[in-house]
Symmetry: C2
Subunit: 424 residues, 2 copies
């Protein structure tokens, strides 16, 4: 925000909650991604070349042929019954046994986080989030005026021990991306999942399990969801909300998310959702229902995983080859992101203009922290680029790092901040 | 909420804001509306027989043929640029001169209310609403923990004088449905609009002008919007937000609303919207853009107004003929609702079961009040029924009233409450 805008806003009655919001660095970077020749590893977008245009066109045609008046009219707040039934089938394939009556359809899983926050979080309540965390979740909880407790993330996901061993009263909610975290790429280990569940039941803490990427596993063994594991722990089902969406496997433009809710929470969530937008577009719900019923998603998943595997491998190989020793990074078993750190402490936000100049962008890691950001970290998405583009993007990043280090000397790298990612 | 549910919920950590929410009586009544033979005047739905299925099918086909990857991918938070440009053209036809850069697309105008509330209202802030008011707006402001001030409504809309003459500090926001209010059917007079604007500028009060029904004027002279009038009053444009939607004239299932915002508010609203759901479905935005570009909406408006005029006349005539002297009601110049009161003080919620038994339903007026409900009032929608169905529905209402009065004697009518409209 420029000084001028800040001064003008102060004179007008913006709410305290909106004044505390940051703009999303990721979405601001999307503008740069449009520049000709730019290789963007900054996005959080799924691969458009994998959209099943033919299948979705058939589903759309079927809706406008067979049920136009239903699709164009107001619908029920918790979601079209047919779509909820189809989602229950999809969830069963993930080991999540539920029925349509437990599901609420949301406008993307983003809105799922918001409706839960509003139904549960009072101002000043503590919400535990991973560090680094999914940026837009931080935003949502900020809007609900939550306080944050942070849980560090390592190769096995959120360090649940720090929660369990933490002094003082427990948080009200723990928000976790359990598979291939955004931005960490890490997956929560089974041992930690079980420990977290026992602790949540004992301390009456709501676990918000956000799983947009679980279907995009390209190597390693799937972990059972918190929801599934909760079935074996008395009382645990009351303390798990499972959130997911069709955005990463079908199409984000539909904005279809869904929440599997414990009984005590569902009525409150539906009332909140009703106040927010009455319901999610009936039209896109009807399209999604027909697409799921067609069976094409299940047919196409192996192909989609192959493509994502090739891209992950291309990015990881390029990083190993071109930035060996300079970057430390994970090798995620799925999802869309590699999380990396400069071993020499290079400030990734300060480096960004140099990288942009050479035609590649990424998201500086500082965007994903509520506090104490790791300024040497960065998030790289492999989802939308071809293998050869990923290699070239990493080559440009390596060149930018070379040049940046040359310019920084003799100054100590990491001590300078450049407003590479603007706040609005 | 039943006692059992309330007890269970108390043991689980629902937020204070959600505990204070009521369920929508209107949406609860929708279940009754599905019963065979039921004549429902309770809905707030537009007439599905007026949906332009052919035109919307053509728009959908064009999207999936010409721009599938755009429509299926993530979009920008403030709305697809093409749709915003098309909305600016639509707005110009209403006398609202704006440009695409001032518009933010929302998931129905319901979400427009929510994003404004979150961007402006701090807990404890005072929001002035009409009495009776649009129920879901009361819900949204309740979620933001607003206090309410109520403004009575008469034949010329909200009694603005009560605001202007009110002692104490002014509210932060005034929320008004300016044309054919829901439920009142009343339209704010030009004199009151001008007076409200002068007062808002002098007192730095944000006017939230909600106009979902303005295009559905079937008689009388259109009133200029607050937004248009504000152009002639220095400083007033900063204090008006114009909200509307395509739900009542195109199709509610798309969930396309839009807000025209003053510059100081737009950035905050976009940040809030980004946190809520990232953006409204790209797919339905692209469909709406193409439909607006086709020119069919403008072509069809006269026909749509004719149909609504016939239905309004049929309802008003039936009420005059069959309940003369027993009901006092307005003759709205457009929109979807007639607001009526029993002159003998009959409690409309207590009467509802008798009416339902005879095969007609309406919404008891008490649902539309934050405080001091008029229990003799009821809302009747003429939007979705044929003229002869409206006549028959009113005949059933008259019969129910006869029977109810017979049963009530010798007890004084209006002193008994029946839980006709449940809270969830």
């Amino acid at each position: 925000m420029t000084t001028e805008t800040a001064a003008a806003s102060a004179a007008f009655p913006l709410s305290a909650r909106v004044r505390s919001l940051r703009s999303s660095a990721v979405r601001d970077l999307l503008r740069d991604a449009q520049r000709p020749g730019m290789l963007s590893l900054a996005g959080g977008l799924p691969a458009p070349d994998l959209f099943d245009v033919e299948g979705l066109r058939a589903a759309t045609d079927a809706v406008m042929r067979d049920a136009p008046l239903t699709a164009l009219q107001y619908g029920v707040t918790d979601g079209q019954p047919g779509l909820r039934a189809a989602l229950a089938v999809l969830l069963a394939s993930r080991g999540i046994r539920t029925d349509a009556g437990q599901i609420v359809v949301t406008t993307g899983s983003q809105q799922g986080i918001d409706v839960i926050a509003r139904a549960v979080v009072d101002p000043g309540d503590c919400v535990a989030v991973e560090s680094p965390a999914y940026l837009a979740a931080l935003q949502v909880f900020t809007l609900s005026r939550a306080r944050f407790a942070t849980v560090p993330v390592d190769a096995d996901g959120a360090c649940v021990e720090t929660l369990v061993d933490r002094a003082g009263s427990p948080p009200k909610v723990v928000y976790l991306v359990t598979n291939f975290g955004n931005p960490s790429g890490a997956t929560l280990s089974r041992e930690r999942r079980v420990r977290l569940l026992h602790w949540a039941v004992a301390n009456r803490v709501l676990l918000l399990e956000d799983d947009p990427y679980g279907e995009l596993r390209v190597s390693g063994q799937p972990q059972p969801s918190l929801y599934e594991l909760a079935g074996g722990i008395p009382g645990a089902r009351d303390w798990v909300v499972y959130l997911s969406s069709l955005s990463k496997v079908m199409a984000p433009g539909l904005r279809i998310g869904f929440a599997v809710l414990p009984a005590w929470l569902r009525e409150g969530v539906v009332k909140v959702k009703q106040s927010l937008d009455l319901h999610t577009s009936t039209f896109v719900q009807e399209v999604a229902e027909r697409y799921l019923a067609s069976g094409r998603l299940a047919e196409r998943m192996p192909m989609m995983r192959d493509v994502y595997r090739q891209r992950r491998d291309a990015l990881v190989d390029a990083l190993s080859r071109r930035l060996d020793g300079r970057l430390r990074f994970n090798r995620p078993e799925g999802g869309m992101f590699v999380w990396a750190r400069f071993t020499d402490g290079t400030d990734s936000a300060a480096l960004l203009p140099a990288a942009r100049e050479l035609g590649m962008i990424y998201v500086p890691g500082e965007a994903f922290y509520d506090e104490a950001p790791d300024r040497s970290a960065l998030r790289l998405s492999f989802a939308t680029a071809m293998p050869e583009q990923l290699d070239e993007a990493v080559a440009r990043l390596a060149r930018a790092h070379d040049e940046f280090r040359g310019r920084q000397e003799p100054a100590v790298a990491g001590n300078q901040r450049v407003a590479g990612v603007s706040e609005g």
